[in-house]
């Protein structure tokens, strides 16, 4: 008997037009539908309670408690309520979506219900459901969205040229040349290359965010599959519990890092020549 380890890539169940529908895609679509349903109930509750300014009850209350916790976490990073309210939709959506799709992967049936397919000349049980974040497409999509929205908000917050100056420090270089001080020119020259390295770090952000999440969740899935095939009963339970924790931790890590990126992108470049100029003007 072979242990059918889940392959690195999600398996295609069928194709819709030219789009291959993979088992992970099925899971994320279910998660999306769940969120649509939840949002429907929330907006109904909002209509019911907020417009009449009555204290909310039931599901809306539960959602409010979650939103409040997320908002508090945002406050801890941004230390500014306005910014927190701006970043919360991005960081909060990432957190909730990652959490829900990770935990959905632990529901019995994920990885065990499947269709017998002929894969590479062998009959194999291809699972119908596979945790959403064990598909690198999903995690890369989220990472790209998170990092690019940080750039977008950064441009919106401090202006395009100031923001571009964080990476291509031509402005700082020009200031240094104008000051005619060789030390300043040397520093600006070095900082110019540091700025170029920053561009690579932005790519590294996306890669690390997506691979961290993918690796953790995929490893958990493999671990659970192996353990279940060795001893099916009771032994996998502590590992399942750990996976619940890992799912939460990874969701927190992803959204917290995104929050930090958003916060850094919307801050003015500290130090540098602008600050010196301001200090000189102040004296």
């Amino acid at each position: 008997m072979l242990v059918a380890l889940p392959p690195l890539a999600a398996e295609t169940m069928f194709t819709l037009g030219s789009l291959p529908i993979t088992n992970s895609y099925i899971n994320t679509t279910i998660a999306t539908l769940l969120f649509v349903l939840a949002a429907f109930f929330v907006s109904r509750g909002i209509k019911k309670y907020y417009t009449k300014s009555v204290a909310p009850k039931g599901f809306l209350n539960f959602v409010e408690s979650i939103v409040e916790v997320i908002l508090d976490y945002c406050d801890q990073v941004t230390r500014d309520r306005k910014k927190s309210l701006q970043f919360m939709p991005i960081a909060g959506a990432l957190f909730l979506f990652i959490l829900v799709s990770n935990w959905m992967g632990l529901i019995p049936g994920t990885g065990s219900i499947g269709i017998w397919h002929l894969v590479h000349g062998e009959h194999e049980l291809v699972p119908l459901f596979r945790p959403g974040n064990t598909d690198l497409n999903m995690t890369v999509a989220m990472a790209v969205l998170a990092v690019s929205s940080s750039h977008l908000l950064g441009i919106m917050a401090i202006g395009f040229f100031k923001y571009a100056n964080k990476f291509i420090k031509l402005g700082d270089l020009w200031q240094a040349v104008k000051s005619l001080s060789p030390v300043k020119m040397l520093i600006a020259f070095i900082e110019f290359f540091v700025g170029l390295i920053e561009i690579f770090s932005e790519i590294a952000k996306m890669v690390s965010l997506s691979l961290r999440l993918y690796g953790n969740i995929f490893a958990g899935e493999v671990l659970l599959t192996v353990l279940a095939s060795l001893i099916a009963f009771f032994v996998p339970l502590p590992f399942m519990a750990l996976e619940i924790l890992v799912g939460l931790i990874q969701a927190v890590v992803f959204s917290m890092l995104t929050l930090v990126y958003l916060n850094m992108a919307t801050m003015e470049a500290h130090g540098g020549h602008d600050a010196e100029h301001e200090a000189a003007a102040g004296h």
Binding site: M1, L2, V3, A4, L5, P7, L8, A9, A10, S18, L19, P20, T22, Y25, T28, T29, A31, T32, F35, V36, A38, A39, F40, V42, S43, I46, Y50, L60, V63, E64, V67, E68, I70, L71, R81, L85, M88, P89, I90, G92, A93, L94, L96, F97, H120, D135, L136, N137, M138, V140, A141, M142, V144, L145, Y214, V226, S229, L230
Partner: protein
């Protein structure tokens, strides 16, 4: 044993996948169509959560926080005003009390002095009246004495006249009469 088999199996499968699509990205299952599809999925989730959950609920929470802040501040203000009012009231009461006491003592003093004056006035009046009465009595007495004197003199004269008319009609007698009248005086 099983682990080795499975790992070998996975490795061979991965190698095969790499052959099929070419490159590490293909092995990891990166497929731009799926990528776009997942991006759309997540964007839908994000948009919906933003529009229907985080947006309105976040605004409401913030509104509620501000309302609570304001209520707490107002409560503090009211408390402060209350203590201020209390102090003011206490002060005012104290002032009023001292004023009242002052007024009462003033009134008492006034009444006492009034009384003294009245008493003195009355005494003076009484004395004046008594004096008047005494004077009147005296003058009355003097007048009556004079009257009596004159009447007595007349009577004596008449009596003397009568007597004289009867027996004495001399100069000696008249002298006598004069003497006796003078002694009466």
């Amino acid at each position: 044993m099983l682990d080795f088999i499975s790992i070998a199996h996975a490795a061979s499968e991965a190698a095969q996948a790499e052959k099929e699509s070419g490159g590490v990205l293909g092995t990891l299952g990166i497929n731009w169509k799926l990528f776009v599809a997942q991006l759309v999925n997540f964007s839908v989730v994000m948009w919906i959560l933003w529009k229907f959950v985080f947006g309105p609920v976040g605004r409401k929470l913030e509104e509620r926080r501000q309302k609570i802040d304001k209520a707490l501040k107002d409560a503090g203000d009211i408390e402060r005003q209350k203590t201020e009012f209390e102090a003011w009231r206490e002060e005012e009461m104290r002032k009023t009390r001292t004023q009242a006491a002052e007024i009462v003592s003033e009134a008492q003093k006034e009444a006492l002095s009034q009384k003294d004056k009245v008493v003195a006035d009355t005494k003076a009046e009484q004395e004046k009246l008594a004096k008047q009465a005494r004077e009147q009595i005296k003058s009355e007495q003097e007048k009556s004495v004079l009257e009596i004197k004159s009447q007595v003199a007349e009577l004596v004269t008449m009596a003397t006249e009568k007597v004289l008319k009867q027996k004495l009609d001399s100069k000696h007698d008249q002298e006598l009469v004069k003497k006796s009248i003078e002694s009466l005086k």
